[in-house]
Amino acid sequence: MELRLENLTKIFTNKTGIETTAVDKLDITIESGKLVGLLGPSGCGKSTTLFMIAGLVKPTSGKIFFGDDDVTKLAPEKRGIGLVFQNYALYPHMTVYQNILFPLENMDVPRDEAITRVKEMANLVGIGNLLDRKPSQLSGGQQQRVAIARALVKKPKVLLLDEPLSNLDARLRLQMREEIKRIQREIGITTIFVTHDQEEAMSISDKMVVLDFGKEQQYDAPQEMYNSPDNLFVAKFLGNPPINTFEAEVKKGYLTINDKKFMKVDLPDALYDIGMRPENFRVAEEGGFEVDIHNIFHIGRDTMIHFEFNGKNLRALVDSDDISHGQKKVKLTIKSERVYIFDKETGLVTNHG
């Protein structure tokens, strides 16, 4: 089912009357059966957006559509959603079986069918053998699976996940995100996934939304967004190690760094923010620009070098074979389409599509 947000806005007012805009005029259409990641730093309004879709938070203005139905005013239980909370909210006094059965007990489902559905769902998420345990006897990953089973057992139209992996350790997180993807594929349910971890969002989402201060920054497929960020915020937010940024001037049609013509650009003369991703640098035999290496970090597959460029410390991630121990200088190149030039005022990218 398609899910559409129209001009969705949430303003919180505290006791002293100060207003905080948590979500600002969000316009997003989520296609049926897709897994969409809501990504942003803490406090950017991503969970608020999710809770508004769930109906637990009332929007200040704007509309939410499930398919063609306007659900903005609908109570949460009438929306047909499944929600997985950040800390799962499994009922501690019920067994896994009772937890998964709970939503069905409130619905008009024959008992035999309910039991079959609980067992099917438990097997689908891989906890079929743990039905008699209490949540406190489960590991974090298992609790997570129970929470997903509980959300899915009533066959919701939309599955909402609120930072579902943030309470798991790093290894389990990798495993669970593959699991979530698999379960979502198998059921083909429209899913919204909130996270602050860009790597997580990129690896799991069909498309993702980056939010900052409640405003949509970009809505695109992960790799698209990574390769052509709309603005400086998205460029900085995606990627680990983060993108290198510094200021540089465009003079007479050339991007000029250190008084040298760096590359030809079709932009009016002004000061711009420049972004270059560490992994886009290449070590060159000839040409390129020579830099002084400050530090070399060998991190297995790649080597990270810190160097000074245009008065700023930048990072480059290069092939380990191209750098020898104790090397002082290196020549680097970067493709011109991998250089991002952002407008100083608006932060919007000027040289990408």
Partner: protein, 360 residues
């Protein structure tokens, strides 16, 4: 005007800062002195505190409370076990005529008006107490639970209602008892006036005075004990309900859980340890009922001009210390031990029953 408010605020800020600074310095000086004392002790090897083993230190710190407990709690408990084997103990000259194991218990058990209803009153202390316990405790626990749940779900005037329900807790029991006795007066009492509004014939309908039948007086007593014990229970339940993670309710809301199921399947199980605690302490408290009866019916537990008696077990025991049979402490001790045994057995039963129902 705005300037004036600004000046006043500025003044208070300055005073506040000065006070904070003063206490900061005081703390610094105290710490300084403390440090110097400890340095001095270390230097001259006088720091005895470090020489004691852990348990000895614990004992020293616990001693003030322990001394009070030993004098006023442990000694009386042990002493009542000693008293119970004395025969014809005389309090005034501290003499006994011999020892007995079951004699005093037999005296109590066979005594009219303890278990056996007395011929002239038609009621006994144990029966009275059991009626109070088994009627007032379940009603008050359930009522407190519902009121707490209701208080938790209202938004406007929340604090106002919480105060109203908490008032009985801070009010003197005897004072409330007197007010109750006044409310249930035969002539012009509030309750009778209220009933006559509905066309009931309240002429000579007495509740706590002469002419009142046993169950009517008992009703007033139970009503009173429920009401006066409600406040504390509501407070405990309300705090524990407020401590429940809101996400459980959000999850339940998304699953379209009806209100009564949320209450019985989520709220009650999650606060079940508190419900159990309240149940056990209320049963114990109800068995020890004393001043409620005194407040309503006087020290004899017998409303004027009636032929029954509403005394409780504790009142029965107290009679042997300060009443018609004063001085026979051995019988009082036997009565207390029987009360203790009843409470112990009931508590053990409750613990057994609750094992499956309480979720920690």
């Amino acid at each position: 005007m705005a300037d004036f408010i600004k000046n006043v605020k500025g003044f208070f800020n300055k005073v506040g800062t000065a006070i904070k600074k003063f206490f900061w310095d005081v703390r610094r000086k105290i710490n300084n002195v403390r440090r110097r004392i400890s340095n001095f002790l270390d230097k001259h090897n006088l720091n005895f505190a470090n020489k004691f083993p852990g348990w000895a230190k614990a004992l020293i710190y616990l001693s003030p409370a322990l001394i009070v407990l030993v004098i006023f709690t442990f000694y009386p408990i042990i002493n009542s076990f000693a008293l119970v084997v004395y025969q014809n103990y005389n309090m005034t000259n501290d003499t006994i005529t011999g020892y007995t194991i079951f004699g005093n218990f037999l005296t109590v058990i066979t005594d009219e008006s303890f278990i056996v209803p007395a011929s002239h009153t038609g009621s006994s202390a144990v029966i009275n107490t059991l009626i109070i316990v088994f009627i007032s405790v379940p009603i008050s626990v359930l009522l407190a639970l519902f009121i707490a749940a209701a208080l938790n779900s209202i938004k406007p005037l929340k604090n106002f209602f919480q105060t109203i329900y908490f008032l009985p807790y801070v009010t003197n029991t005897i004072a409330i008892g007197l007010v109750f006795a006044y409310m249930f007066k035969t002539e012009g009492g509030l309750v009778n006036q209220f009933l006559s509004l509905f066309g009931m014939d309240t002429e000579g309908l007495s509740w706590v005075e002469s002419g009142a039948v046993y169950w009517r007086s008992m009703f007033v007593l139970i009503f009173y004990s429920i009401w006066s014990s409600l406040a504390f229970k509501i407070m405990v339940f309300l705090t524990s309900i407020q401590g429940i993670d809101k996400q459980y309710y959000q999850a339940a809301a998304i699953d379209a859980t009806p209100r009564n199921r949320i209450f019985s399947k989520i709220t009650v199980p999650l606060i079940s340890p508190m419900i159990f605690y309240i149940l056990v302490t209320s049963v114990i408290g109800a068995f020890k009922i004393y001043n409620a009866i005194v407040a309503l019916f006087g020290v004899t537990g017998q409303p004027a001009g009636v032929d029954y008696n509403l005394q409780s077990i504790v009142m029965y025991i107290y009679k042997f210390i300060d009443g018609s049979n004063a001085g026979n402490l051995s019988v009082a001790a036997a009565g207390s031990l029987i009360l203790f045994a009843i409470i112990l057995v009931l508590t053990l039963v409750q613990m057994q029953v609750s094992k499956k129902r309480v979720h920690y």
